[in-house]
């Protein structure tokens, strides 16, 4: 799109929000992964007792892994949000669809009108004969 359309304020902030979400999520993935790797390092000196430390590390890794997954899901959500945003705000294509539908319906209308007119004419001719026959028959 070469022509930059002027977006309203709310749209602008929304788009910026999407951008921010993207950066946040990627940063979250990155940070959490780094932290997991850091935590994996064996340290010698700890103030707390080893089982506690192990438990803490275990829990931390768990949470960080979950965070990565969450960020991934959030990215997927972002993708779907972006799609929705595009679908809902893509007015040129909507206008195209409307004009196309309009054209189709008009064609249909013309066709129907033509058919109805010819049907009316045929029926009128037949009706005339039938009326003639009916009124001159005995069975009325």
């Amino acid at each position: 799109m070469a022509t930059q359309r002027v977006l309203p304020q709310s749209k602008e902030t929304l788009l910026q929000n999407y951008n921010k979400r993207l950066k946040d999520d990627i940063k979250s993935i990155m940070d959490n992964f780094t932290e997991i790797v850091k935590t994996a390092k064996i340290e010698d000196e700890t103030q707390v007792s080893r089982p506690t430390q192990a438990e803490q590390d275990h829990y931390e890794m768990h949470v960080r892994a979950a965070n990565i997954v969450r960020a991934g899901e959030s990215l997927m959500k972002l993708v779907s949000d972006l799609k929705q945003f595009l679908i809902l705000n893509d007015f040129p294509s909507v206008n195209d669809a409307i004009s196309q539908q309009n054209q189709q319906l008009r064609a249909l209308q013309d066709e129907c009108d033509k058919k109805l007119t010819s049907l009316r004419d045929e029926i009128a001719v037949d009706l005339y004969e039938l009326e003639e026959e009916y009124y001159s028959s005995r069975y009325k």
């Binding site: 064996i42 979950a66 997927m76």
Partner: protein
């Protein structure tokens, strides 16, 4: 400069040695240059050992050094300048020296403490190999375990993601939510409000003024197990419509009368048949269309009821719940009702109420819809003038009143536009009048066989006007008996009858008037037919009158009469035909054929016997022949002498 004489400048290196003193006689005494070792010493002197390289070392071994090297520090403090440690040439040397010193100090302290044996005793170290390694292994195992769980979690997440991605790319594109949404978007108005996607199914953009919001919500259909087989009619997109727009609705227009004389207006039930979904139509589309239809029906009904209350009619319109009752003609009741069945199949209106299957006026129902759309279209004027967006601008057509210089009458005619209800009542009146006319003509045609009535309905009609051509003929004599051709223009309140010769008669909506008129026309037809026949048969018309002033008075119209004479003038036939009294045929014979002719004294001459004598009535019902004209033809033939 280049042209000047060359000046010789001798450069001598400055004195490298420092001048120690200058004697009175001018002899300078130089300080001898430092030797290598002296230089080293000088540099070494400038090392600031007191300044710690590491801050933590300062605190740890500050005290022993103070004690041991206290004297030296005091000496050095005067001579040394504060150097920045990083600029110090021998920084590493100094640091190493310092750490060596620290170690030595610590060793010294430990040794001194151990030597005392007062505070500390030395014990042999137990040689347990596990003691040192256990924590490491434990840590390793625990870390490994933690990593494994984290990895598992990540894998699970990744699998889920890849599954959802793969699902999108599967060939079931039409099952995709976004594809459906795109399709929905191309046909309906959608917008995003917060997390929800709201749509608009009202006709507001088409010009409707109905205040119903008409919003629906688009929801993603997620209550399906992706691993199982997906049913065919599954659609990932679903719409939620407001509860008051659910189900199906239609406007029912019917005309009720005590006598079931117009029962055949509308025979088939079109609306309540379950709609068959076309192939390729999404379920949401059907749902939305149904909801939109409900909305339109509601709008129509609201408009009608508003008008019904506002309009001051002679017989006030009654609005009861979902029904509007009006009386277009005396004894006739037009009811417009809104039928809205909320459930799937069940009709909200109980069916035992109406034993008759259907008395819908589908044409009117359709017209109501059409008029509503026209009303919408009127609101959306094609010429949109610049107008303030914040305030109403009055009636759009009224804006033109100024530029076009309308006068008062024109403006008032703009303002009192005909309402929906008035239009529909007029149409109903017309439809009723038309069907009643048709029934009248048909019943006459079936009741009276001679003469024949033929009705030919025009195929070009208006909602307020239609026409029918009525021919009155005699069977077998259509070609010669074409005298009566009537054009009936059926309007809203009255019927205009146009004769063949251009006479116009206006009849009211009363059935009897039309019937009487047709009966009188039929009676006239018979006499006309005799006239035509006489021409064909070569008889002479002696007299002809459409409206005879003599004889018994008819209750409907007037009797008509004709007298025709045979070619040679011997016989004459007189016909008198009245709509009520029927026909009376008299034959006049020549005097010569009458035996018991009273002898007259005055008329003695034989030539007078050639005159026609008295009339004798023909027993018409005993005559042979199918119909009146045929009988008449036979009679004429019988009275015509053979050549």
């Amino acid at each position: 400069m280049s042209g000047g004489p060359a000046v010789r400048i001798s450069i001598e290196s400055s004195c490298e040695k420092q001048v120690q003193e200058v004697d009175f006689h001018g002899t300078e005494t130089y300080v001898p240059p430092l030797s290598m070792s002296q230089n080293l010493t000088k540099l070494a002197q400038r090392i600031d050992f007191s300044q710690g390289s590491d801050s933590e070392e300062d605190g740890a071994d500050g005290e022993p050094r103070d004690r041991e090297w206290g004297k030296q520090e005091t000496e050095e403090e005067e001579g040394t300048v504060k150097f920045q440690p990083s600029l110090w040439p021998w920084d590493s040397v100094r640091n190493n020296l310092r750490s060596a010193l620290t170690e030595m100090c610590v060793l010294h302290d430990v040794l001194s403490v151990v030597k005392e044996k007062k505070y500390m005793a030395l014990d042999p170290v137990s040689q347990d190999p596990n003691a040192g390694k256990t924590p490491q292994v434990f840590q390793l195992i625990s870390k490994k375990k933690s990593l494994a769980t984290a990895a598992q979690l990540l894998l699970k997440g990744a699998e889920k993601l890849s599954k959802s991605v793969a699902e999108n790319q599967e060939n079931r594109r039409q099952r995709d939510f976004n594809a459906e949404l795109l399709r929905l978007r191309s046909q309906w108005k959608l917008r995003k409000v917060g997390d929800k996607i709201l749509g608009d199914l009202s006709y507001r953009s088409a010009g409707s003024l109905f205040p119903h919001p008409g919003t629906f919500e688009v929801i993603k259909n997620t209550d399906i197990d992706l691993d199982k087989k997906i049913p065919e009619d599954y659609c990932p997109l679903d719409v939620q419509i407001p509860s008051d727009l659910e189900g199906s609705a239609y406007i029912k227009v019917s005309i009720q009368k005590q006598a079931p004389d117009i029962g055949d207006l509308g025979t088939v039930n079109l609306f309540r048949r379950p709609q068959k979904s076309k192939a390729g139509t999404q379920p949401w589309h059907l749902k939305l269309e149904a909801a939109q239809n409900v909305l339109l029906c509601k709008e129509i009904f609201a408009q009608l009821s508003r008008e019904a209350v506002q309009i001051k009619a002679q017989i006030p319109h009654i609005v009861v719940k979902n029904q509007i009752i009006s009386q277009p003609f005396p004894g006739l009741q037009l009811s417009i009702s809104l039928c809205h069945s909320a459930g799937e199949r069940k009709s909200s209106r109980a069916s035992p109420e109406k034993p008759k299957p259907d008395d819908h006026l589908y044409v009117l129902e359709h017209n109501l819809h059409q008029m509503m759309r026209e009303f919408h279209k009127q609101q959306l004027s094609s010429v949109v003038m610049p107008h303030p967006a914040s305030a109403p601008f009055g009636h759009k057509r009224l804006r033109l009143a100024g530029p076009m210089a309308y006068d008062k009458a024109e403006i008032s005619s703009l303002q009192q536009g005909e309402g929906l209800l008035e239009k529909i009542i007029k149409q109903a009146k017309h439809i009723f009048l038309r069907s009643r006319t048709a029934r009248t003509i048909d019943s006459l045609a079936s009741r009276i066989e001679d003469p024949q009535i033929q009705a030919h309905w025009s195929n070009i009609n208006d909602v307020y006007e239609s026409s029918v051509k009525v021919l009155i003929t005699s069977h077998g004599y259509e070609q010669i008996c074409k005298s009566i051709q009537l054009q009936l223009n059926i309007g809203v309140e009255q019927i205009r009858v146009v004769h063949r010769d251009g006479r116009v008669v206006t009849l009211s909506h009363q059935e009897q008037e039309l019937q009487d008129f047709l009966l009188s026309q039929m009676s006239q037809h018979q006499v006309h037919a005799v006239q035509q026949l006489a021409k064909v048969m070569g008889w002479h018309v002696l007299s002809f009158s459409n409206h005879v002033g003599l004889g018994p008075v008819e209750s409907i119209g007037n009797a008509s009469a004709i007298t025709v004479a045979s070619l040679n003038g011997e016989y004459a036939i007189s016909v008198r035909n009245g709509p009520e009294s029927g026909c009376k045929v008299l034959v006049q014979f020549p005097r010569s054929q009458i035996k018991e002719l009273p002898k007259s004294d005055a008329v003695q001459d034989a030539k007078w016997s050639q005159l026609r004598g008295p009339h004798r009535e023909v027993n018409w019902s005993k005559m042979e022949g199918r119909n009146f004209v045929y009988k008449m033809e036979l009679l004429m033939a019988a009275l015509t002498p053979c050549p």
